[in-house]
Symmetry: C2
Subunit: 310 residues, 2 copies
């Protein structure tokens, strides 16, 4: 049985007349008669009563037509849904990210993307860079914000684009002596109790601080360790010491604290956007586009990587 048979049966039921139904279908009357006859033979039941007053569905015909209409609706919807999915209007985007990405690029990117693609279901997974990398390779994620490009098996199939430069900054209580300063020096930091991150950013931030304060600095060894940047800022606000973290901390202004540059400027690994190079999914493309428009300096780099990977 083909969709044609359903369309013909429905047209015949609507017109109640073989000739007019055939005309509405753009075919001649005899082929319609034959198709209906074939259909009735295949179903094994008479579907229409041919009377002088017109052609009317039998009880079996009514039952058949109800299902046929739904079938054709499903077929039409299949094409529409596929088109929407292909245009990236519907679908799913599984996004991995390190906690600190929640500070700066994510709020803007996600609200914008949610507004532009209301039909896309977002799945957000906070995870470490290495897990994002393997999840991308395994096809369990579509994109990820990571700290530096992910390393490990299969990551050569990923495209990674720096989204923003990052460096160490300090956060202090408003009443702290450094609060008025534009920047804080390494010497000043060595004389203070410090608060550093033990979260995802830890290895990178700690490595940066090590170069800043000198290896085996006692100030670093005795530092308070916090799980994430919000805790660092909270502890600094309560006067426990000087918080040190990524410059993206500035994105969460909070009464009671001041942010200061640290001299010498100590770079941290870039925040990076990663995705599978082969992934041509329109939802991903739309997301990349949103990121591009939200993070001005990303555009060129992204285009370059995309061109490079065919």
């Amino acid at each position: 049985m083909e969709a044609r048979h359903l369309r013909y049966a429905i047209a015949l039921a609507e017109h109640g007349h073989f000739g007019r139904a055939a005309a509405s279908l753009g075919i001649a009357q005899p082929p319609l008669s034959k198709q209906i006859a074939d259909l009735e033979r295949e179903v094994g039941a008479r579907l229409f009563d041919r009377t002088r007053q017109g052609v009317f569905p039998t009880a079996a015909g009514e039952a058949f037509l109800a299902r046929a209409r739904r079938a054709l609706d499903e077929i039409a919807a299949a094409a529409v849904d596929a088109g929407r999915a292909a245009r990236g209007e519907t679908g799913r985007l599984r996004l991995g990210f390190i906690a600190s990405a929640l500070l700066d690029p994510l709020p803007g990117v996600l609200s914008r993307f949610g507004r532009e693609r209301p039909g896309v279901r977002l799945e957000l997974h906070e995870m470490a860079t290495s897990r994002s990398g393997s999840a991308l390779v395994a096809g369990e994620l579509d994109v990820a914000f990571t700290l530096g490009p992910p390393r490990g098996a299969g990551t050569e199939r990923l495209v990674s684009v720096p989204v923003g430069r990052d460096h160490v900054i300090a956060v202090v209580h408003t009443a702290h002596p450094y609060a008025g300063q534009q920047s804080v020096s390494a010497d000043q930091l060595r004389r203070q109790p410090l608060i550093v991150s033990a979260g995802e950013d830890e290895p990178a931030v700690v490595a940066g601080l090590r170069t800043l304060l000198g290896p085996d600095s006692p100030a670093l060894g005795g530092a308070t360790v916090a799980r994430d940047v919000h805790t660092i800022i909270g502890l600094a606000a309560s006067g426990v010491g000087v918080g040190l973290g990524p410059s993206r901390m500035r994105a969460v202004p909070r009464p009671g604290v001041r942010f200061c540059d640290v001299t010498p400027r100590t770079p941290l690994p870039d925040l990076v956007l990663s995705f599978a190079a082969r992934d041509r999914s329109p939802v991903l493309r739309a997301f990349l586009d949103t990121v591009r428009r939200n993070c001005p300096d990303v555009g060129a780099a992204l285009d370059d990587r995309l061109r490079h990977h065919r």
Copy 2:
């Protein structure tokens, strides 16, 4: 787009391999490639990713396949439903009947039919014979139990079969002097307060009583009038008088009353089963069959009428 395209896409998604999917469909690989390509062109979206590891649906493909599966399910269900309806296993039967039919043939017929055809929805409409007749002609009913064959415009297109003979009987309170009698005479009736029907059976019953008691009998003129037979029996049970009604009253035995024949035996119009002569609906056929098996003496008459009307 044809059902074929849906079947092919689903097979391809299941096998993840053009060659094997084609084999499972009983066709060669190139036609499958072409059909899928045609489908993708018509939908306007790539539905499958061809990789070295296999063929996988894209996001658009997943959306399409979900609908396609439902569409094919509907098509299969259409054939099944039509078959069921054609065999009379499902459907609807609109049955008109006069109130007194509820006494005798209906309880047995309906319970048997409901057991044999659980999928058929019964619509029961109590109505006068004349309304049943016009409703049958207008196609608003499928069958009806009427008092005598329906008369009026279009009723020549109906088939009417007598289902049972009927005559006047009397119903009296257990303590009534007539209660012990086998039968009651017209003379005896003229000396008693009577209870007669004003419902559907009225003209026929009243006409019967008129011939029984004589025209303009004061006993008839002064009779208590009840809307239906249950009321007649109830009033007789409470000693108001002697109830007169169709012999089918016997089918509702009730403590406190006795039924007596009336002499001379006074016939009433037959209870008749009517339906449209052209109606070939399997549900109707099944119903007629049930009636035939429930009312032994109907069989021959029914077969005769059916033969007569082609």
